[in-house]
């Protein structure tokens, strides 16, 4: 990807054009850049903040998610990642700043409200019910029905078929949609949750640390499904503390530290090394590396 900063990554990738067939106009006037763009970002927050009692959990954080793009939110524990997700997913209202959906101010009463407006959040632990089958989990809360009145019933055959098709079209290979969710691997469970959000018409997909508890191979599988969702035109917010997971897939990187933004970078504006170094607090990592290096050979200290 060699586009200059500010050029939507879609054009370079040849993904689905966000605003229909017309050519995309990019920042005709740099001074009022976002107003001149053909399609506003799907979701944007400007200088949002949140305090809990005396604790400032988040201050002056801005970011956005565009159609067909992945915005990665990186930060160590306690950096404010979860507070930001809760604001984005409609669980908390921000105390300050703006929340824009398709360029218009938005406020949600509940996560369900946000879900109805196309913002789906997949939490690491709350994603699924382990004792229930894959297809029952998939349609939980939005079961398709047949018939009416007292004969209204869960369209079981249809549900099974749709789940099988949806998973296959995402390239998720689960042999048996009847098996309990708990028997799937962590990566598979995240993947099914992503497929579910895509099926129910999510436009923005917020993923809370989907790779953090996974092994290397399983994390790779989940990253592949995130790419699938992106290629279908969804905007993805990918929360992680692992720059090696974020860098290959992200188009935009928001770094958080102690509740404030360390900066937002386009892919062209940052290298993997810089990202890793920023994540670890730059000089802190160097000092640590130095410290560990020195300790390795005991050297002449022994007589």
């Amino acid at each position: 990807m060699t586009g200059t900063d500010g050029v939507p990554a879609d054009a370079a990738r040849g993904g689905p054009p966000p605003g229909g067939p017309g050519p995309e106009i990019v920042a005709a006037d740099p001074g009022t850049g976002r107003a001149a763009q053909a399609a506003p970002p799907l979701l944007e927050v400007r200088a949002v903040g949140k305090t809990f009692g005396g604790v400032i959990a988040l201050r002056d954080v801005s970011t956005r998610v565009c159609q067909g793009e992945v915005t990665c939110v990186l930060g160590d524990n306690g950096a404010g990642k979860s507070t930001l997700i809760k604001i984005l997913s409609g669980m908390h209202a921000p105390d300050s700043g703006e929340y824009l959906l398709d360029g218009a101010p938005a406020a949600f009463t509940s996560p369900r409200d946000a879900m109805d407006q196309g913002i789906a959040t997949v939490y690491q632990d709350l994603a699924m019910i382990p004792l229930m089958s894959v297809w029952r989990n998939f349609f939980l809360g939005s079961e398709p029905v047949l018939g009416r009145g007292p004969l209204r019933r869960f369209d079981v055959a249809g549900a099974r078929r749709v789940v099988r098709e949806e998973l296959r079209s995402m390239g998720i290979d689960i042999r048996d949609v009847d098996q309990p969710m708990g028997t799937l691997s962590g990566g598979e469970r995240q993947s099914v949750a992503i497929a579910r959000a895509v099926h129910f018409g999510a436009r923005v997909l917020i993923l809370d640390e989907p790779t953090s508890a996974l092994g290397v191979k399983q994390a790779g599988v989940v990253l592949r499904y995130i790419a699938q969702a992106r290629d279908r035109g969804l905007g993805v917010v990918f929360i992680t503390h692992n720059p090696h997971h974020a860098y290959p897939i992200g188009d935009r990187f928001l770094l958080l530290n102690r509740g404030t933004s360390l900066g937002e970078y386009g892919k062209a504006g940052i290298t993997r090394e810089e990202l890793t170094s920023l994540m670890a607090g730059g000089t802190e990592l160097e000092r640590l590396a130095h410290e560990l290096d020195r300790g390795e050979p005991p050297g002449p200290a022994y007589p």
């Binding site: 996560p111 369900r112 879900m115 939490y123 632990d125 709350l126 994603a127 699924m128 019910i129 382990p130 004792l131 229930m132 029952r136 349609f139 939980l140 809360g141 939005s142 079961e143 029905v145 209204r152 019933r153 869960f154 079981v156 390239g171 998720i172 290979d173 042999r175 048996d176 009847d178 098996q179 309990p180 708990g182 028997t183 799937l184 691997s185 962590g186 990566g187 598979e188 508890a213 996974l214 092994g215 399983q218 599988v221 592949r224």
Partner: protein
């Protein structure tokens, strides 16, 4: 691109059959039947079958309703004594206040729905364990049953339903008999089969069923998926109360009188039958058919011990052993189903 996990190959057809919740109950029922049938010719005759299906039916209606509630993650210890309360309300109203049996049944249904609603409301609003909440309701109803009955009649039972208006019709509907192959079966058996079929349909083939499994499996995750967890749980408590009303009415019409202490001690029998039928004590898993079969095991053991000419005192020993075996089997199922692979 194939991401099939090679470790999934273990899921064979046999294994899938093994995780059916009813399996343990079916195996148990076959074993218990074979055992008593070999001991007593009466037990295996058609009259014998009609005989042990009778206790199985009234117990089964309750066990199925309690199974739904347990799949939804809650208990109801007040369900047993509520069968007494509803029966008492009906008989008292029909014999002392001149209401017809039908009207009296409607009033007792309303009372049962109220008790179920309050049980559910307190549980979902306070977040207290339903075990404690319904234990409280159980003790309160026990006191009311005794206190009101004694105050009205001076004794611990109310009777005389036979003379009440509408008795014959209600009795035919709920407490009569039907002839099958020359043998009289209690009509309650049909109610039991109907309740089991309806509950199975709701569980497996409706939205409500999916939500019952979900609120019992993980109420927080269910809520995150948009399931109205509170409403689902309250509805389950009310369902258990309606079942108690049905059984209370059946028993009252059959005996034409109700003891003030009737139903006490039954609440655990319902739970045991549901657990033998494959319900997990922790919720989210189980089956209505399994609970119905659990009730059959009870009926067979209850009458079989008598037919075989044994001391009926051994019944509870048998009960405890069945319960332990069933719980062990369920634990294996759960461990399999919840096995997390990363």
């Amino acid at each position: 691109m194939t991401v099939a996990d090679e470790r999934l190959a273990r899921t064979g057809a046999a294994r899938r059959l093994l995780v059916r919740p009813e399996l343990g109950a079916v195996v148990g029922a076959v074993a218990v039947f074979a055992f008593f049938a070999s001991q007593s010719a009466t037990f295996r005759s058609i009259e014998g079958v009609a005989n042990w299906l009778d206790p199985a039916s009234t117990l089964g209606i309750m066990a199925v309703a309690i199974a739904l509630l347990m799949i939804g993650g809650e208990f109801d210890l007040s369900a047993g004594v509520l069968t007494g309360t509803t029966g008492l309300i009906m008989v008292i109203l029909a014999t002392r206040y001149g209401l017809s049996v039908w009207t009296a049944m409607l009033v007792s249904l309303a009372a049962a729905l109220l008790v179920g609603f309050l049980n559910g409301l307190i549980v979902v609003r306070t977040g207290l364990p339903s075990f404690i909440v319904t234990l409280g309701t159980f003790l309160m109803l026990q006191g009311v049953n005794l206190g009101v009955t004694k105050a009205l009649t001076g004794t611990v039972q109310v009777g005389g339903l036979r003379g009440a208006e509408g008795y014959e019709g209600a009795r035919a509907l709920l407490a009569g008999t039907v002839q099958v192959g020359g043998t009289d079966f209690r009509v309650a058996v049909l109610w039991w089969l109907g309740v089991t079929a309806l509950a199975t349909w709701v569980l497996m083939r409706t939205r409500a069923g999916n939500r019952i499994f979900a609120v019992g499996g993980d109420a927080r995750a269910a809520r995150a998926a948009g399931v109205p967890a509170e409403r689902t749980k309250i509805a389950l408590f009310m369902t258990a109360a309606v079942a108690a009303w049905l059984v209370g009415s059946i028993l009252a019409l059959r005996f034409t009188s109700v003891q003030a202490n009737s139903g006490i001690g039954q609440e655990f029998v319902y739970i045991i039958a549901a657990v033998i039928g494959g319900c997990l004590l922790t919720g989210g898993y189980g089956s209505a058919i399994g609970a119905a079969i659990g009730a059959v095991i009870f009926g067979m053991a209850d009458k079989g011990i008598v037919f075989a000419g044994w001391d009926a005192d051994w019944f509870t020993f048998f009960l405890g052993a069945m319960l332990l075996l069933a719980t062990l089997a369920n634990r294996l199922v759960r461990r399999y189903a919840e096995e997390v692979r990363r």
